[in-house]
């Protein structure tokens, strides 16, 4: 395991948006780099369209959960969740929010550098609506300079996870790259 890398990310959305898939993708990308990983996920009743949050911790941790004020970044697949989960960010953390219109960066108790991407719109345009989670990830990996993994690492995990389903893989990679190119 590499020493020194420690990153805590919150992935937030509603049931059915692919929060778990995204979490797992990032976790496997970390493992590929020889980093230790913890995630904490929402299953069961809450998955039926309710608010869903995943915690991802890469590096030397013992607890699977992120404390408020400690996350380095937030991937917010549903704009309304930003208010719910902004408190997880540390001072100077970033958030990528799925939104059609600009969302101001947050000051005050939990300051956050907010970037947006119209993930539903882009996903529908280039792939399928279900790929909006990967658009958000594409945007995040572009704006976050010290992310523990790069775009190629993500594509490699996608290729492995979706091996044998060329169509879905193509859509996923296309959506991911569309997120990377998006500027708002």
């Amino acid at each position: 395991m590499k020493n020194g890398t420690a990153q805590q990310l919150v992935i937030s959305g509603v049931g059915g948006q692919g929060v778990l898939f995204l979490t797992r993708l990032l976790a496997e990308a970390a493992m590929d780099k020889g980093l230790a990983v913890f995630t904490s996920e929402t299953h069961g009743m809450a998955q039926r369209g309710g608010t869903v949050i995943s915690h991802l911790k890469v590096g030397d941790f013992t607890s699977p959960m992120i404390r408020p004020g400690c996350a380095d970044g937030l991937l917010v697949l549903k704009e309304e969740n930003l208010d719910l989960h902004a408190g997880y960010g540390r001072a100077g953390a970033w958030a990528v929010v799925n939104s059609r219109h600009p969302v101001p960066s947050r000051q005050g108790d939990c300051p956050l550098e907010v970037a947006t991407v119209d993930a539903f719109g882009l996903a529908r345009e280039v792939a399928s609506p279900r790929s909006s989670n990967l658009v958000v990830l594409g945007r995040a990996i572009t704006i976050c300079r010290d992310m523990f993994c790069g775009p190629d690492d993500i594509v490699r995990v996608l290729e492995r996870r979706l091996a044998g389903d060329e169509q879905r893989l193509h859509k996923a990679v296309t959506a991911f790259r569309a997120g990377m190119k998006a500027q708002q």
């Binding site: 509603v14 049931g15 059915g16 979490t23 797992r24 976790a27 496997e28 493992m31 230790a36 990983v37 913890f38 995630t39 904490s40 996920e41 929402t42 299953h43 069961g44 009743m45 809450a46 998955q47 039926r48 369209g49 309710g50 608010t51 941790f61 013992t62 607890s63 699977p64 959960m65 992120i66 404390r67 408020p68 004020g69 309304e80 969740n81 208010d83 719910l84 989960h85 408190g87 997880y88 539903f120 529908r124 609506p129």
Partner: protein
């Protein structure tokens, strides 16, 4: 060659532990947060080409008894369930504790502090205490895997069932975990008749109880499960004792607060029986001990010196809900006398869960409200509990209670001048689990109510496990099917009809017929037959979506949103018309029949 490190869900880590430890028989009934254990056992076993038996049972009691017979026969066996499932299996548990185990026997009961997806926050460790068996409390997926191996050794060394108690945060965490080669799985049974033990009469139970107490006293000194000190801080007047995921949180928080070097932090691996010498030493050497555990003060009550111990009983740690890492940070800082800013996520309600778009239950509930608008609606445990949102669920108690409560409400309300119609709802899997016995009872008592069995051909809420009617098992293997209607008729029910809830009008008419029948003849059963759409899609079933549009006739009355609550129909504040979210819509077309203004149409 398979990778030797895998990203495993806590439940998968437990499963891997079972397979690596040579568990020959594994059984379960699904329930969040435990459901992923059994399928992972089946998968790992198939990967490793191992024999043995893995099965979903019809309920937790049955699952327990099947696995326990394997233990009596000398094989390693495990049964897994959620915490309220252990209530169902508590009858065999209490007796098995007396009789003991032969092959290692693990009872895995996953607790759900929070609760996130459960009726109660009950602590299975208290059940272990009541049964007088040891319980292990893992802090992480990796430790859960290790505790499976330790649990089997403990079980065999002392001939006793062992409880493994993970919580949601262990079950549903993922961690990168090193895999080992499975130990050879012993499949040759060593069944020997010993009726004095396995069919003990009360006189011998007394003797077995004595033996059990003796075992517990020895287990309270067993080396492998002794509490461990996580840091190297030397003892002063204070110490913190934690178990389960609270210990994992505490370790990180100790480092963040600068306490790692100077405040001893112990993790209890076996909360019951707590190691005798640990109790004695820590109470002798410390003025004050803080205990962090979920959800009841099981360790705390064994550290029997109220003046010295801070925890739930002293009011220092909340007795209700999950103890989040941010709570632990505050509690530990207060205990150690260091300052830390209070940081807390406001527990905003967020989005409430709802039935999926296209869910057949929604259509059935709508028809029930139509057929019996002033009815009493007992319901049960499953996705359809969410019928609450639609006003079609009045009570949810526990598995199978819809049926017995329907009877109970009839007896309680029958002296009212105007008796309300009673329409109970229960899922197919829940009916097989616990609905049959109360249905027999209501036939005997001729109770006038309609039972709607919401038959979506799966155990949906917990992730689409098969039911007794599915005809396939945890490996996807072919099994016998039990015919639901035949069971209902076999219970003595005279009216048992099946219909598709998507045809709301016809379904409501059938319900009225059933209501009329039950008044003179006792319970009538309507089987609402339509597969879970999630399951149907996953299994590649036939599904031809209809294209629904909102027409000009929509005046934004909101009836479809409040009374039908399909997530695909959205009426935002200020909007004059309902908007159909085509991303969410499944094309079931049921809403067309729901709209009072005829403003929803199927096109194409």
């Amino acid at each position: 060659m398979k990778p030797s490190r895998l990203l495993l869900l806590g439940n998968e880590a437990i499963a891997r532990g079972l397979v690596e430890a040579g568990c020959a028989v594994a059984t379960a009934y699904p329930g969040t947060p435990s459901s992923e254990i059994l399928p992972a056992v089946a998968r790992f076993r198939a990967d490793e080409k191992l024999g043995g038996h893995v099965q979903w049972a019809v309920n937790e009691k049955v699952a327990f008894e099947i696995a326990y017979a394997a233990s009596i026969s000398g094989l390693r066996a495990a049964v897994s369930m959620k915490q309220v499932g252990l209530n169902v299996a508590s009858d065999p548990l209490m007796s098995a504790a007396y009789m003991g185990a032969k092959g290692g026997f693990l009872v895995i009961s996953a607790d759900d502090p929070g609760p996130h997806s459960s009726q109660t926050e009950q602590d299975s460790r208290l059940m272990a205490m009541m049964a007088k068996i040891p319980v292990l409390d893992p802090a992480s997926p990796l430790q859960a895997k290790q505790m499976v191996a330790a649990g089997f050794r403990l079980s065999e060394e002392f001939s006793i069932p062992v409880l493994l108690r993970p919580t949601t945060r262990v079950c549903h965490s993922r961690q990168d975990i090193e895999l080992s080669v499975p130990a050879p799985c012993e499949l040759n049974p060593d069944y020997r008749k010993d009726p004095l033990r396995w069919a003990a009469t009360p006189k011998f139970r007394f003797k077995l109880h004595g033996e059990l107490e003796d075992k517990l006293a020895r287990i309270a000194g067993w080396e492998a499960t002794r509490p461990v000190q996580l840091n190297r801080a030397r003892g002063g007047s204070l110490a913190v004792v934690a178990s389960g995921v609270a210990a994992a949180h505490a370790a990180e928080i100790f480092k963040a607060l600068g306490l790692w070097e100077n405040l001893p932090l112990y993790q209890v691996l076996q909360p019951y029986p707590l190691h005798t010498d640990f109790c004695r030493k820590i109470l002798e050497s410390c003025e004050s001990v803080l205990v962090l555990e979920e959800t009841t003060g099981v360790i705390e009550m064994q550290l029997a010196s109220r003046g010295q111990v801070r925890g739930k009983l002293s009011g220092d740690v909340p007795s209700v809900g999950e103890i989040l890492p941010e709570d632990i940070e505050q509690i530990v800082a207060g205990f150690a006398g260091v300052k830390v800013a209070a940081r807390r996520i406001q527990q905003a309600p967020g989005r409430r869960p709802t039935l999926c778009a296209g869910c057949p239950h929604r259509a059935a509930f709508f028809a029930i409200k139509k057929a019996a608008p002033k009815g009493v609606y007992p319901s049960d445990i499953g996705c359809y509990t969410l019928g609450l949102n639609l006003g079609a669920v009045d009570t949810v108690l526990c598995m199978g209670a819809a049926v017995s409560q329907a009877a109970g409400f009839h007896h309680a309300l029958k002296n009212r001048a105007k008796q309300p119609p009673i329409v109970a709802t229960i899922g197919d899997s829940t009916f097989f689990h616990s609905g049959i016995a109360p249905l027999v009872d209501s036939v005997v008592q001729k109770v006038p109510f309609v039972l709607v069995i919401l038959d979506n051909s799966t155990t949906a809420m917990t992730g689409n496990q098969p039911t007794a009617a599915s005809g396939w098992g945890v490996n996807g293997e072919s099994l016998a099917r039990v015919d639901l209607a035949a069971v209902v008729k076999g219970c003595g029910v005279g009216f048992c009809r099946q219909a598709d809830p998507y045809a709301i009008k016809e379904f409501a008419a059938l319900l009225k017929e059933a209501l009329a029948y039950c008044r003179d003849h006792g319970p009538a059963v309507v089987i609402s037959k339509r597969p879970c759409l999630l399951d149907l899609r996953r299994r590649g079933g036939n599904w031809e979506p209809k294209q629904v549009v909102v027409t000009e006739a929509c005046d934004g009355c909101g009836f479809c949103v409040t009374q039908f609550e399909c997530p695909a129909l959205v009426l935002a504040e200020g909007d004059k018309q309902v908007v159909l979210d085509t991303m969410v819509c499944t094309g079931c077309g049921v809403c067309v029949e729901v709209c009072p203004k005829k403003a929803l149409e199927v096109v194409g």
